[in-house]
Protein backbone atom coordinates (compact mmCIF):
# COMPACT_ATOMS: atom_id res chain seq x y z
CA UNK A 1 0.00 0.00 0.00
CA UNK A 2 1.22 3.47 -0.84
CA UNK A 3 -0.23 6.88 -0.15
CA UNK A 4 0.46 9.56 -2.73
CA UNK A 5 0.95 12.92 -1.08
CA UNK A 6 1.63 16.39 -2.40
CA UNK A 7 3.14 18.78 0.12
CA UNK A 8 2.85 22.50 -0.48
CA UNK A 9 4.96 24.63 1.81
CA UNK A 10 6.08 28.21 1.87
CA UNK A 11 9.78 27.90 1.31
CA UNK A 12 12.65 25.76 0.19
CA UNK A 13 13.72 25.60 3.85
CA UNK A 14 10.78 23.30 4.43
CA UNK A 15 10.65 21.37 1.19
CA UNK A 16 14.31 21.36 0.24
CA UNK A 17 13.65 22.40 -3.33
CA UNK A 18 16.49 24.85 -3.73
CA UNK A 19 19.19 22.24 -4.27
CA UNK A 20 17.65 20.42 -7.18
CA UNK A 21 15.76 21.42 -10.31
CA UNK A 22 12.00 21.12 -9.85
CA UNK A 23 10.41 17.90 -10.99
CA UNK A 24 7.47 17.70 -13.34
CA UNK A 25 4.17 17.65 -11.47
CA UNK A 26 3.28 14.11 -10.45
CA UNK A 27 6.86 12.82 -10.42
CA UNK A 28 7.77 11.00 -7.24
CA UNK A 29 10.23 12.94 -5.10
CA UNK A 30 13.42 10.99 -4.51
CA UNK A 31 15.51 11.67 -1.42
CA UNK A 32 17.35 14.63 -2.89
CA UNK A 33 14.09 16.38 -3.67
CA UNK A 34 12.59 16.02 -0.22
CA UNK A 35 13.13 18.48 2.60
CA UNK A 36 12.63 18.56 6.35
CA UNK A 37 8.88 19.11 6.11
CA UNK A 38 8.51 15.98 4.00
CA UNK A 39 10.13 13.95 6.76
CA UNK A 40 7.87 15.43 9.41
CA UNK A 41 4.69 15.08 7.36
CA UNK A 42 5.59 11.46 6.52
CA UNK A 43 6.04 10.70 10.20
CA UNK A 44 2.81 12.45 11.14
CA UNK A 45 0.84 10.73 8.40
CA UNK A 46 2.27 7.32 9.23
CA UNK A 47 1.19 7.78 12.84
CA UNK A 48 -2.23 9.16 12.01
CA UNK A 49 -3.12 6.61 9.37
CA UNK A 50 -1.31 3.65 10.96
CA UNK A 51 0.84 3.03 7.89
CA UNK A 52 4.61 2.62 7.51
CA UNK A 53 6.58 5.80 6.87
CA UNK A 54 7.89 4.15 3.72
CA UNK A 55 4.36 3.91 2.34
CA UNK A 56 4.18 7.68 2.01
CA UNK A 57 5.19 8.75 -1.49
CA UNK A 58 5.57 12.43 -2.14
CA UNK A 59 4.81 13.73 -5.62
CA UNK A 60 5.81 17.03 -7.16
CA UNK A 61 3.01 19.59 -6.98
CA UNK A 62 1.38 21.44 -9.82
CA UNK A 63 3.10 24.69 -10.71
CA UNK A 64 1.73 28.17 -11.00
CA UNK A 65 0.48 29.48 -14.35
CA UNK A 66 3.96 30.93 -14.82
CA UNK A 67 5.52 27.49 -14.55
CA UNK A 68 7.10 28.12 -11.15
CA UNK A 69 6.78 26.26 -7.86
CA UNK A 70 4.35 28.17 -5.65
CA UNK A 71 6.12 29.68 -2.68
CA UNK A 72 5.47 32.00 0.24
CA UNK A 73 2.60 34.38 -0.18
CA UNK A 74 1.51 32.75 -3.44
CA UNK A 75 -0.07 29.98 -1.37
CA UNK A 76 -2.20 32.58 0.36
CA UNK A 77 -3.70 33.77 -2.90
CA UNK A 78 -7.13 32.26 -3.51
CA UNK A 79 -6.79 31.80 -7.25
CA UNK A 80 -3.28 30.37 -7.09
CA UNK A 81 -4.16 27.97 -4.30
CA UNK A 82 -7.28 26.73 -6.09
CA UNK A 83 -5.37 26.21 -9.34
CA UNK A 84 -2.54 24.22 -7.80
CA UNK A 85 -5.17 22.09 -6.07
CA UNK A 86 -6.98 21.44 -9.37
CA UNK A 87 -5.72 18.44 -11.30
CA UNK A 88 -7.10 18.13 -14.81
CA UNK A 89 -6.96 14.34 -14.77
CA UNK A 90 -8.52 12.58 -11.78
CA UNK A 91 -5.81 9.91 -11.93
CA UNK A 92 -3.19 12.61 -11.31
CA UNK A 93 -4.90 13.79 -8.16
CA UNK A 94 -2.94 12.57 -5.10
CA UNK A 95 -4.52 10.75 -2.18
CA UNK A 96 -3.79 13.71 0.05
CA UNK A 97 -2.53 17.27 -0.24
CA UNK A 98 -0.90 18.90 2.77
CA UNK A 99 -0.62 22.67 2.70
CA UNK A 100 1.84 23.76 5.37
CA UNK A 101 2.10 27.45 5.99
CA UNK A 102 3.06 29.88 8.74
CA UNK A 103 0.48 31.86 10.69
CA UNK A 104 2.64 35.00 10.61
CA UNK A 105 0.38 36.56 13.19
CA UNK A 106 -2.87 35.99 11.26
CA UNK A 107 -5.36 34.36 13.60
CA UNK A 108 -7.82 33.05 11.02
CA UNK A 109 -5.41 32.01 8.28
CA UNK A 110 -6.32 28.33 8.46
CA UNK A 111 -10.04 29.01 8.21
CA UNK A 112 -9.47 31.43 5.36
CA UNK A 113 -7.45 28.93 3.32
CA UNK A 114 -9.88 26.12 4.03
CA UNK A 115 -12.66 28.33 2.74
CA UNK A 116 -10.67 29.06 -0.44
CA UNK A 117 -10.52 25.34 -1.23
CA UNK A 118 -13.75 24.16 0.38
CA UNK A 119 -15.55 22.99 -2.78
CA UNK A 120 -12.56 21.41 -4.55
CA UNK A 121 -12.48 17.63 -4.98
CA UNK A 122 -9.82 15.55 -3.23
CA UNK A 123 -8.53 15.17 0.30
CA UNK A 124 -6.41 17.88 1.79
CA UNK A 125 -5.20 19.14 5.15
CA UNK A 126 -4.25 22.73 5.64
CA UNK A 127 -1.83 23.07 8.54
CA UNK A 128 -0.90 26.43 9.94
CA UNK A 129 2.12 26.48 12.20
CA UNK A 130 2.00 29.11 14.93
CA UNK A 131 3.78 31.34 14.24
CA UNK A 132 6.04 29.43 11.86
CA UNK A 133 7.25 25.97 10.93
CA UNK A 134 10.43 26.49 12.95
CA UNK A 135 8.36 26.65 16.16
CA UNK A 136 7.57 22.98 15.66
CA UNK A 137 11.28 22.25 15.30
CA UNK A 138 12.05 23.91 18.63
CA UNK A 139 9.38 21.92 20.45
CA UNK A 140 11.29 18.74 21.26
CA UNK A 141 14.23 19.94 23.31
CA UNK A 142 15.75 16.47 23.62
CA UNK A 143 15.77 16.06 19.84
CA UNK A 144 17.14 19.57 19.48
CA UNK A 145 20.02 18.84 21.87
CA UNK A 146 20.77 15.63 19.99
CA UNK A 147 20.67 17.33 16.59
CA UNK A 148 22.92 20.17 17.75
CA UNK A 149 25.07 17.84 19.83
CA UNK A 150 25.25 20.31 22.70
CA UNK A 151 23.26 21.67 25.60
CA UNK A 152 20.79 24.44 24.93
CA UNK A 153 19.14 26.88 27.32
CA UNK A 154 15.59 26.14 28.42
CA UNK A 155 13.09 27.99 26.26
CA UNK A 156 9.51 29.18 26.60
CA UNK A 157 6.73 27.54 24.64
CA UNK A 158 7.71 27.88 20.98
CA UNK A 159 4.23 28.91 19.91
CA UNK A 160 4.37 31.88 22.25
CA UNK A 161 7.27 33.37 20.37
CA UNK A 162 6.40 36.36 18.19
CA UNK A 163 6.35 35.99 14.39
CA UNK A 164 9.86 35.44 13.04
CA UNK A 165 11.40 34.65 16.42
CA UNK A 166 11.34 30.85 16.16
CA UNK A 167 13.12 30.91 12.81
CA UNK A 168 15.67 33.37 14.13
CA UNK A 169 16.23 31.32 17.25
CA UNK A 170 16.62 28.03 15.38
CA UNK A 171 19.07 29.60 12.95
CA UNK A 172 21.07 31.07 15.84
CA UNK A 173 21.25 27.67 17.53
CA UNK A 174 22.39 26.06 14.28
CA UNK A 175 24.92 28.76 13.49
CA UNK A 176 26.67 28.81 16.86
CA UNK A 177 30.41 28.46 16.29
CA UNK A 178 30.13 27.80 12.57
CA UNK A 179 31.76 29.84 9.83
CA UNK A 180 29.26 31.71 7.68
CA UNK A 181 30.04 29.52 4.67
CA UNK A 182 28.99 26.42 6.63
CA UNK A 183 25.79 27.83 8.01
CA UNK A 184 23.33 26.99 5.27
CA UNK A 185 24.17 23.28 5.03
CA UNK A 186 24.32 23.08 8.84
CA UNK A 187 20.85 24.64 9.14
CA UNK A 188 19.51 22.22 6.57
CA UNK A 189 21.06 19.22 8.25
CA UNK A 190 19.75 20.16 11.71
CA UNK A 191 16.26 20.77 10.34
CA UNK A 192 16.30 17.46 8.53
CA UNK A 193 17.49 15.59 11.63
CA UNK A 194 14.87 17.26 13.80
CA UNK A 195 12.08 16.38 11.41
CA UNK A 196 13.21 12.78 11.20
CA UNK A 197 13.83 12.25 14.90
CA UNK A 198 11.61 14.61 16.87
CA UNK A 199 8.97 13.01 19.05
CA UNK A 200 5.55 13.69 17.60
CA UNK A 201 4.13 13.51 21.12
CA UNK A 202 6.55 16.18 22.32
CA UNK A 203 5.63 18.39 19.37
CA UNK A 204 1.92 17.90 19.98
CA UNK A 205 2.34 18.73 23.69
CA UNK A 206 4.29 21.91 23.05
CA UNK A 207 2.51 23.10 19.91
CA UNK A 208 -1.30 23.11 19.76
CA UNK A 209 -1.07 23.81 16.01
CA UNK A 210 0.88 20.59 15.50
CA UNK A 211 -1.61 18.68 17.63
CA UNK A 212 -4.38 20.09 15.44
CA UNK A 213 -2.45 18.97 12.36
CA UNK A 214 -2.31 15.39 13.66
CA UNK A 215 -6.02 15.50 14.43
CA UNK A 216 -6.80 16.87 10.97
CA UNK A 217 -4.77 14.07 9.37
CA UNK A 218 -6.67 11.48 11.39
CA UNK A 219 -9.96 13.00 10.33
CA UNK A 220 -9.26 12.71 6.60
CA UNK A 221 -11.80 10.33 5.03
CA UNK A 222 -10.08 7.35 3.45
Amino acid sequence: MTVRVVLLAEGAGETGGDLTPPLAPGEVLAEGHRGPAHALVAQALARSWSIPVGAVLFEAPLRTVRGTVARGGELLDRGTLRRILSWARPTQRPDLVVVLIDADGELNRKARLNEFARDLPGARVIAVAVEEFEAWLLADEAALRAALDREIPAAPSPEELPPGAAKKKLNALCDGGNASSDRKPRRRQVRQTLCEQASLDALARACPSFKAFLEDLRAVPR
Binding site: A24, R63, G67, W87
Partner: protein
Protein backbone atom coordinates in the same frame (compact mmCIF):
# COMPACT_ATOMS: atom_id res chain seq x y z
CA UNK B 1 -4.12 33.73 -40.58
CA UNK B 2 -3.40 30.16 -39.55
CA UNK B 3 -6.98 29.84 -38.35
CA UNK B 4 -8.19 31.16 -41.71
CA UNK B 5 -6.04 28.67 -43.61
CA UNK B 6 -7.28 25.80 -41.47
CA UNK B 7 -10.94 26.78 -41.83
CA UNK B 8 -10.75 27.43 -45.58
CA UNK B 9 -11.67 31.10 -45.29
CA UNK B 10 -8.23 31.87 -46.67
CA UNK B 11 -7.25 30.06 -49.84
CA UNK B 12 -9.18 27.69 -52.04
CA UNK B 13 -9.40 24.77 -49.60
CA UNK B 14 -8.85 23.85 -45.95
CA UNK B 15 -5.25 23.23 -44.95
CA UNK B 16 -4.23 21.00 -42.07
CA UNK B 17 -1.56 22.75 -40.05
CA UNK B 18 0.82 21.00 -37.69
CA UNK B 19 2.70 23.38 -35.46
CA UNK B 20 5.26 22.61 -32.77
CA UNK B 21 5.66 25.22 -30.08
CA UNK B 22 6.96 26.01 -26.64
CA UNK B 23 4.87 29.17 -26.55
CA UNK B 24 2.28 29.41 -23.80
CA UNK B 25 0.97 32.53 -25.51
CA UNK B 26 0.28 30.68 -28.76
CA UNK B 27 -1.74 28.11 -26.84
CA UNK B 28 -4.16 30.86 -25.84
CA UNK B 29 -5.35 30.99 -29.46
CA UNK B 30 -6.17 27.28 -29.61
CA UNK B 31 -8.97 25.10 -28.37
CA UNK B 32 -7.90 22.45 -25.82
CA UNK B 33 -8.84 19.57 -28.13
CA UNK B 34 -6.61 20.95 -30.90
CA UNK B 35 -3.41 20.45 -28.93
CA UNK B 36 -1.27 17.41 -28.12
CA UNK B 37 1.35 17.54 -25.36
CA UNK B 38 4.55 15.57 -25.89
CA UNK B 39 6.72 14.43 -22.99
CA UNK B 40 10.01 12.59 -23.16
CA UNK B 41 10.17 9.77 -20.63
CA UNK B 42 13.20 8.58 -18.68
CA UNK B 43 13.67 5.65 -21.08
CA UNK B 44 13.80 8.03 -24.03
CA UNK B 45 10.34 7.27 -25.33
CA UNK B 46 7.83 10.02 -25.96
CA UNK B 47 4.28 10.05 -24.68
CA UNK B 48 1.56 12.08 -26.31
CA UNK B 49 -1.27 13.41 -24.18
CA UNK B 50 -4.30 15.53 -24.81
CA UNK B 51 -6.40 17.67 -22.54
CA UNK B 52 -9.06 15.49 -20.88
CA UNK B 53 -11.90 17.52 -22.37
CA UNK B 54 -14.38 14.67 -21.95
CA UNK B 55 -13.71 14.30 -18.24
CA UNK B 56 -16.63 15.52 -16.10
CA UNK B 57 -14.31 17.75 -14.07
CA UNK B 58 -12.55 19.28 -17.09
CA UNK B 59 -14.76 22.36 -17.42
CA UNK B 60 -14.31 23.26 -13.75
CA UNK B 61 -10.53 22.96 -13.99
CA UNK B 62 -10.43 24.89 -17.27
CA UNK B 63 -12.50 27.65 -15.72
CA UNK B 64 -10.31 27.61 -12.61
CA UNK B 65 -7.45 28.50 -14.96
CA UNK B 66 -9.65 31.21 -16.52
CA UNK B 67 -9.66 29.16 -19.73
CA UNK B 68 -5.94 29.78 -20.15
CA UNK B 69 -4.55 26.78 -22.00
CA UNK B 70 -1.07 28.29 -21.73
CA UNK B 71 -1.42 28.59 -17.97
CA UNK B 72 -2.72 25.04 -17.70
CA UNK B 73 0.23 23.77 -19.71
CA UNK B 74 2.77 25.72 -17.65
CA UNK B 75 1.20 24.36 -14.46
CA UNK B 76 2.19 20.88 -15.61
CA UNK B 77 -1.41 19.77 -15.63
CA UNK B 78 -1.44 18.56 -19.22
CA UNK B 79 2.01 17.03 -19.70
CA UNK B 80 4.64 18.34 -22.05
CA UNK B 81 6.84 19.91 -19.38
CA UNK B 82 10.43 18.80 -18.68
CA UNK B 83 10.84 15.77 -16.44
CA UNK B 84 13.83 14.95 -14.27
CA UNK B 85 16.76 13.27 -16.01
CA UNK B 86 17.34 10.83 -13.14
Amino acid sequence: MLRGLASGSIGSRKVQIVLATYSAELLEYLQPDEVRFLSRQQDGSVTIEEAPVNDPDWRRVYDEYQQSLGGLWLSGNLGGVPRSAA
